[in-house]
């Protein structure tokens, strides 16, 4: 028996380059402000705070520490941090609410990928003895995965181009998107190959950003005064795969499959999938068994903006917005982390009368 928890607020900023400190505290301040306006709550309504970010993205130890200032954390707050995408911070917060110790949480994530050379920094996620010394970069690893899928016939180039075209076209109406505009699959295929077999548009743009979300139990003291609609969490699961790339079948995503099965994907009409590379959306869709009637990434998804360490939370937020607006009755959101879809999280949510 889990406690009923709803997503009641979400705010974000995404941009190509954030001209500010690596702790992104200046980005978080207006985002939190928007959340108070959205929900009618103040910080005293929040029982638990949890964030996700990375020191290596910022280039310094303890980069998350100054971000706490955005909370205004005196009097002190109950607070935690994961060195992961903020989608997993949301998981920690949801668990905390399940224990009954707290009733509500504000979760935030931030990342300034533009401070360093992102694909090179991510080489540090590999085995430090046998892989990182080669500086195997994140784009190359995704390209190897794409080729494995292409050459096995799991998917083809035109399907990848369709993903790109649909994402960029959908993102046209998303103010937060970085790469966007009406695009056809032919437009995509006309682009030269970059990291063969990938084109630049197959790869998420390097993005900066921050985002935050409020979740609450239905029996929280401040629940009745909340403004706005709710998206009720119905399933929340995550799984990881081995670190050794050669022990995984890169054409499939076992961890997404098992997380999805545990979370329960039946009946979803919309999915926000965190696929920083076009072919990964195809792998994820397959792993989750999503039919063609399920709308994928109406926000444009990570291919149009992928602020590291918040992009996963953004998928959840974008799905929640669709539920709030009445455009989805039951939505799925997914977040990924690690090289070539190593770690995956699935959250399902629904509208209730």
């Amino acid at each position: 028996m889990t406690r009923d928890v709803a997503i009641v607020g979400f705010s974000q900023r995404q941009m190509k380059e954030f001209d500010g400190s690596p702790t992104c505290v200046e980005l978080l301040v207006p985002i939190f402000q928007e959340l108070w306006e959205q929900t009618g709550w103040t910080k005293t309504d929040i029982g638990f705070w949890c964030s996700g970010s990375s020191d290596y993205l910022a280039g310094r130890a303890f980069s998350f520490v100054s971000a706490v200032d955005a909370i205004g954390a005196l009097p002190p707050v109950m607070e935690s941090h994961v060195e992961m995408d903020a989608a997993w911070a949301l998981y920690e917060a949801w668990v905390k609410i399940q224990t009954g110790l707290v009733d509500s949480a504000l979760v935030y994530g931030f990342g300034k990928s533009s401070a360093g050379v992102l694909r090179r920094v991510l080489s540090l996620q590999m085995d430090p003895y046998t892989v990182t010394p080669l500086w195997a970069d994140a784009v190359s690893l995704a390209a190897i995965q794409a080729r494995a899928g292409l050459e096995s016939g799991a998917f083809d180039e035109s399907q990848m181009a369709d993903v790109v075209a649909r994402s960029m076209t959908d993102a046209a109406s998303n103010d937060s998107a970085i790469r966007k505009g009406a695009t056809t699959a032919d437009d995509v295929l006309a682009q030269p190959l970059y990291a063969d077999p990938l084109r630049r548009w197959d790869c998420a743009p390097v993005s900066d950003g921050a985002s935050a979300m409020i979740i609450t139990a239905a029996d929280a003291p401040g629940f009745d005064k909340l403004k706005g609609n709710k998206a009720w969490i119905t399933g929340f699961e995550h799984r990881v795969e081995p670190g050794a790339l050669n022990s995984r079948d890169l054409k499939v995503s076992e961890s997404t499959k098992s997380a999805g099965a545990a979370a329960g994907v039946d009946g979803v009409d919309l999915a926000e999938l965190h696929a920083p590379f076009s072919h990964q959306e195809l792998i994820l869709k397959d792993a989750l068994g999503l039919g063609d009637d399920v709308r994928i990434n109406p926000s444009g998804g990570a291919l149009t903006a992928n602020p590291m360490f918040t992009a996963g939370l953004n998928r959840i937020g974008e799905a929640a917005r669709q539920v709030w607006a009445g455009d989805s009755q039951r939505a799925l959101a997914h977040a990924t982390s690690g090289p070539a879809l190593q770690q995956n999280l699935v959250l399902t949510m629904e509208a209730r009368a």
Partner: protein
């Protein structure tokens, strides 16, 4: 509301050393994990989820090392969380693991924390020069020394109190085969004679830099009942609090976050008088003076009086409130693991498995960790009996 009982059923730690040249990072972790799982009488098949914690990734030069460590952690196919809350991380990590059980989500969770400090140099990692700023305070000792001075001024404590703590913890470490420092000759006099590094902090009043890991297996009430474990450490309460690093008029000697966390913890655990009801405490003391400071912050003594407990010998293993029976952070400091070591040592005490540094008849124990600029606090109370309230 579905708060379920949870208990520590297995504790395992490495031998902590300045450099564990015999193992890789994965090997270091597994030494602790394998011991914890043996202690808990479980295998990886029995584990539902893994929660790992460590301090900054810059220490080992691996970004989110849990990703590459997945196999060593037995994590593939399971949920894996990575916590990072500065020096308090070991404590926070254990609390996140406990919450997975307390929420009724999992039956058995493996949690592990580590640091392999010999891969780099913590002083370097913590002092990467920030442009426009002039670095003057020189590492963690330089950061905390002014606040120790403030404590001495505020409390009027005699200047040898820190040496009493250091000598006691180093002597306690001799009773703990896993402790890094094993210096039988450390006395109050020898500590006072050691070099003044960050005045008022002397060399022997500082923690070492260690390689080490600790793992715990945390299980639900049902899982305990189904096991052959007869002496679990029941979790009576967990709390975390954070406040900003710097703020106008922030109390850096007796931070409000620590006071609030402990007050909430005692309430949660049904404890009215901590000094009378807690049998022993593992408190995060990386510089000796933090023992009296945290005794006050935690409510074991009134503000300004913590040093009197130390001076009177009440924090020795046979005292009224034994502190850091294992030798504490002053004797072993694998940073990311240090907080969980406090939590795990508290569990060992109430399990009756602390060996030579066992406090006779310990029934309730505190595990405590802090981090950042004395701003992140994590703590738990564990007991030999199930919570009664």
């Amino acid at each position: 509301m579905s708060h379920k009982l949870a208990a520590v059923i297995g504790v395992g730690q490495t031998h902590h050393r300045a450099k564990r040249g015999d193992v890789s990072m994965a090997g270091l972790l597994r030494e602790a994990i394998d011991r914890a799982m043996t202690d808990a009488q479980v295998t990886f098949n029995d584990i539902d989820a893994i929660v790992i914690g460590k301090a900054p990734d810059l220490f080992e030069g691996v970004m989110m090392p849990e990703l590459y460590l997945a196999e060593a952690l037995g994590a593939p196919g399971k949920p894996l969380l990575r916590v990072h809350t500065a020096g308090s991380v070991g404590g926070s990590t254990a609390i996140v693991a406990a919450s997975l059980v307390e929420a009724g989500i999992h039956e058995r969770v493996l949690t592990v924390a580590f640091e392999k400090q010999s891969e780099s140099n913590a002083m370097w990692a913590l002092s990467v020069p920030v442009p426009f700023i002039m670095p003057v305070h020189a590492g963690a000792g330089g950061y905390f020394a002014p606040h120790v001075r403030s404590y001495i001024r505020r409390s009027g404590a005699p200047t040898h109190i820190g040496a009493i703590v250091a000598a006691k913890d180093r002597q306690n470490a001799l009773k703990n085969p896993y402790a890094h420092l094993q210096n039988p000759d450390t006395t109050v006099e020898s500590v006072l004679a050691s070099q003044m590094l960050w005045d008022p902090i002397r060399y022997d009043e500082t923690c070492p830099s260690s390689d080490g890991a600790i793992a715990l297996v945390i299980a639900s009430e049902d899982a305990v009942a189904k096991s052959d474990i007869k002496n679990p450490a029941w979790i009576h309460g967990t709390q975390m609090r954070s406040e900003p690093t710097t703020a106008a008029e922030r109390d850096q000697v007796n931070p409000q976050a620590g006071r609030d966390a402990s007050a909430a913890l005692w309430k949660q655990a049904g404890i009215k008088s901590p000094i009378d009801e807690i049998d022993c405490a593992e408190i995060y003391v990386p510089f000796s003076w933090f023992e009296p400071m945290w005794l006050e912050n935690l409510g074991f003594a009134e503000p300004g009086d913590g040093w009197k407990l130390t001076e009177a010998g009440e924090t020795r293993i046979e005292g009224k409130i034994p502190v850091n029976m294992s030798g504490g952070v002053l004797s072993s400091n694998p940073i990311g693991a240090s907080g969980m070591l406090r939590f795990g040592e508290a569990a060992l005490q109430v399990m009756g498995e602390a060996g030579e540094h066992q406090v006779e008849g310990a029934k309730k124990a505190l595990g405590h960790a802090y981090g950042g600029g004395s701003q992140f606090f994590a703590m738990w109370v564990v007991g030999a009996d199930k919570p009664s309230h």
